[in-house]
């Protein structure tokens, strides 16, 4: 029986962590959206956020069984079609999409909304895995690199103008996957230097200082390193590129960015102190988490949570409830679960027999990682405010199902690996 073989081969560790996260998420959504006394409210009140989330969780069970029931080969075989459908659904938003709070990211069916970008991640991962699993693909070749990046940036092009920079940001994690599969290291190094220069430019607010520092580094490097090929033209080229980049960062920040974008960066860099206005979110979430202490205030006892001081608490800021009510130990537990799950998936990916499932597994780990890291970093005030949900935790059907599909397709592949001879 196929089902029997799935249940005996599937990775139960991942499933246990998954279930724990989903249940914890729901409990925290319950706490954060509860107003008034707990006795007055039914947990299954479907007009309430926690009731809806319960429905979403229930509905993910048939999704899981469907995914597990489908032949593993199906995902590989139809990955391009899935990817194409996903891209179509993203493109369709421009025509049929529903605008909520200025963002055109949803399909509305009655009161029910669906966010296709949550499913596009899994589709992109499948497509990328399919492309890389081709034996002819060698990422050391320039045109292969361009093709791979094209797959990744196709959905980004559709997501950015919605506008949904949070979802678009996620796709940068595919660089780690490509690196794992042979992309030259300088991509990552360049990206790292670009981020560093970006932060430096904003922090100093003076491109000349950054350019001066760069020149100094290059000059020192030129005379000190005798091992590396001392190509004066390469150094000058690098200097010019960095200068152009720095100036453009400065220009973009001051002229292209909207004021609220600038504010978000300024808060992080400590330049803004308006805690009633633009700094309100970050300040309130820091207060909520900071007031938790070692053991927290106890479940349903969080004063910040109950007072509704943290905006968007049941979605992007759900981790503040964990911090406030469960304290440092609770935060440690949740972060431990995420790290454990991601490491487990990486471990499973590395032991895959086929390149397709390995790349896909790596994509799953990377997507979960960037969500988890960016979300919590934002909540605790070390990353700019950006709309990235916490996987399995944050309120929302599309998000929960998107992550569930993403994870369980991989678990199905993993369970099937014995057949892959």
């Amino acid at each position: 029986m196929r089902n029997q073989s799935v249940s005996s081969n599937i990775d139960w560790i991942s499933i246990v962590i998954y279930i724990t996260l989903v249940i914890l998420g729901w409990l925290n959504i319950y706490s954060s959206s509860l107003s008034g006394a707990p006795e007055d409210a039914s947990i299954f009140d479907f007009s309430q956020i926690y009731g809806k989330q319960f429905l979403f969780i229930l509905f993910s069970i048939p999704i899981i069984f469907t995914i597990l029931a489908i032949e593993a080969k199906f995902y590989e075989k139809y990955s391009i079609i899935i990817f194409a459908v996903s891209l179509l659904s993203l493109a369709g938003l421009f025509v049929f999409g529903k605008t909520i709070a200025g963002q055109r990211c949803w399909y509305g069916i009655g009161s029910f909304t669906l966010q296709p970008s949550e499913f596009a991640k899994a589709a992109t991962a499948l497509a990328l895995a399919k492309y890389l699993s081709d034996v002819q693909v060698n990422l050391r070749e320039m045109n292969r690199q361009i093709q791979a990046l094209f797959i990744v940036f196709l959905p980004v092009m559709l997501i950015l103008p919605q506008p949904d920079p949070g979802s678009a940001l996620i796709y940068f994690v595919f660089f780690f996957v490509l690196y794992r599969e042979g992309l030259p290291g300088w991509y990552l190094v360049t990206g790292f230097i670009a981020i560093l220069l970006f932060i430096l430019t904003l922090a100093t607010n003076n491109p000349y200082i950054v350019i001066g520092l760069t020149a100094l580094t290059l000059v020192v490097n030129h005379y000190r390193s005798r091992l590396v090929d001392r190509n004066i033209f390469a150094s000058i080229l690098m200097f010019l590129m960095i200068s152009v980049f720095t100036f453009s960062v400065n220009f973009v920040f001051n002229n292209v960015f909207k004021q609220h974008h600038r504010d978000r960066f300024n808060i992080l860099l400590g330049k803004e102190v308006d805690m009633k206005g633009v700094g309100y979110n970050t300040n309130q979430s820091e207060i909520a988490i900071g007031s938790g202490g070692w053991f927290g205030k106890g479940y349903l006892e969080g004063t910040q949570t109950k007072g509704g001081f943290v905006p968007e608490q049941h979605t992007d800021y759900i981790f503040t409830t964990v911090g406030e009510e469960w304290g440092f130990l609770g935060s440690l537990f949740v972060i431990g679960l995420f790290v454990g799950l991601i490491l487990r998936i990486i471990y499973l990916a590395e032991r895959q027999k086929t390149k397709f499932s390995r790349v896909y597994g790596y994509c799953v780990a990377g997507i979960l990682f960037i969500h988890f890291f960016v979300n919590i970093a934002m909540v605790i005030g070390v990353f700019p405010t950006i709309g990235v949900p916490l996987p399995f935790f944050s309120y929302g059907g599309s998000g929960l199902w998107g992550f569930t599909i993403l994870l369980f397709i991989f678990l199905k592949m993993d369970a099937n690996k014995v057949n892959e001879w």
């Binding site: 988490i289 070692w294 004063t303 109950k306 007072g307 509704g308 935060s331 890291f373 605790i380 005030g381």
Partner: protein, 658 residues
Amino acid sequence: MRKVLLPSLVIIAGSLLLIRIFFLQIIDDSFKLKSENNAIKIKYDYPERGYVYDRNGKLLIANQPSYDIMVVPREVKNLDTLEFCQLLDIDKAFFLKKMEKARVYSPMLPSVFLPQLNKLEYAAFQEKIRKFNGFYIQKRSIRDYQVSYGANVFGFIAQVNEAIVAKNPYYKPGDLIGKQGIEQSYEEILRGQKGVKHILRDKFNREIGSYKDGKYDTIAQQGKDITLTIDGDLQQYGEELMVNKWGGIVAIEPKTGEILALVTSPNYDPALLVGRQRSKNYSLLYRDSIAKPLYDRGLLAQYTPGSPFKILTGLVALQEGVISDSTRFVCNHGFSYARGRFMRCHCSGGSIQLHRAIYESCNTFFSSSYIKIINKYNDHGYAVDLWAKHLKSFGLGDFMGYDLPIGVRGNIPTSKIYNRTYAGWKWDGKTIVSNAIGQGEVLMSPIQLANFMATIANRGYYYTPHIIKKIKNQPIDPKYRQKHTTTIDRKYFDPIIEGMHAVYGPAGTASGLGVEGIEICGKTGTAENFMVINGKRTKLQDHSIFVAFAPKDNPKIAIAVFVENGYWGKRWAGPIATLMIERYLKGKITRTDFEKRMLQGSLQDQYNKRYPQKHQDSLGILNARVKDSIAREKGKIDSLATKKPVEVKKDTVKKKTP
């Protein structure tokens, strides 16, 4: 390398997040506080303060509701300042000042905007309060004095200052606390416990329920009623007698140590320190550094005791065996204690024994006795300490341990002082002989004088004076039931008491002051005093002192009266003490002849001499100013409440006019 990058990043990122969370939750405490301020609102329910009764069950102090207007500056929106100010009868500058003060304290927490509105003002404001966002009314209870005397005994209620708030977490800004008098001594008993409610708020400051289901909430506990040992009638009579005289009267029941009356003069109507005018009135009283109406002369003034001290000299001399009741000294209308030093004596002179020495107040007799006490031992220092030990057994030279918050030690000199003062000299009894007649280094407060009189009346023991008689449902401090016995044997008291009885006799210093049917034992005193006026040490008119107890057998009252610059003992203090005794024991006055003189007499001329250039009677100004406004306000409220015609209560008009 390529395989390790992502797992390493995951682990590093997870650790960085945890470090940051650790910093937020464990290291940095500031968020905890912010969260409490953010979300929890505390509401207080103030209990009524306990009532105060006199020893006969007469109500002295009750309560009246008072309404503080509180403000939460952040919540003040769309305020019609003009209407608001007109309603409360304040000007715009005052409004802005108060708002600024509240904002500086905290924009989110309530501050008192205007304290202690009366019923009338409250009613007018309450009607329109819905228009004034951010303002609300905090009901408190303030004192309603049923009598116009006893201000020094009662003390008063005031808003806590920042120092108290910082020291005692019970008090929050705007809370009331008892200051001075019994209000301070019995603050915790009288005030009760305020109730606390923790209310959870949301980000719109709406109340969304009680915090942790009221786990930390407490119910207000009513303050306890207390009964004082004061006899209201006697207290009032004492204050009336002391009008236009400065000084103090302390009356004690010898058998129990209960304080029957504690009068200081000048005094003020306790109602002056209630309501919106409180702080204005208080500062006027406080700044009056001349009459010092806030200074309790019965407890705080230290005077040289003068002749009453001779009683103690006699007792110690008897106890030490240096004289007996038949010992004779010859008095030549004075006493030469050193070359060129002569102490005059007003007695009739001749060969004199203890009995006559007391009732004629012979300086020579007691000086000779004192020299004998000190010279009994070759080590004069030892003798002085022995003498001091006897005196201290009367509770002198130290705080007495009574239950009022203020006091002085007085002074009983010991050998240490004299050895230091006369270092390198040979000193003996003659050197310090002025102690014999209460004019040396000895200092006593009126309450110490009264207590030593009670000790004489008891023939050798006393109870620590106290003002608390009963606390509802709670025993009073057992130390007030503890007998203190002196080092003087009981048998030595009788000859002294006989002498004091004779003071009221035909040849005594208080002859003619006697009251029919009451056997009074007393002792006059006249104490020299000096003051620096215009840089010169000037001798002022002598203080008038009188101590007494009555009846001679089974004494019921012991009293000390001190009238500053009252010439001599019999002139002012003697009659006042006698009248007090008669009033207490008989309930009425038969000596109406000098009652009238005492009630109407004034020593203001003497006091004006002390401060020739700058004297002005602040209390007079205050009373004149305040009596109008109080009368007006009370009349307004009374007429509002009862629809009675406006009538000015007699006791709101203070007795004193310059």
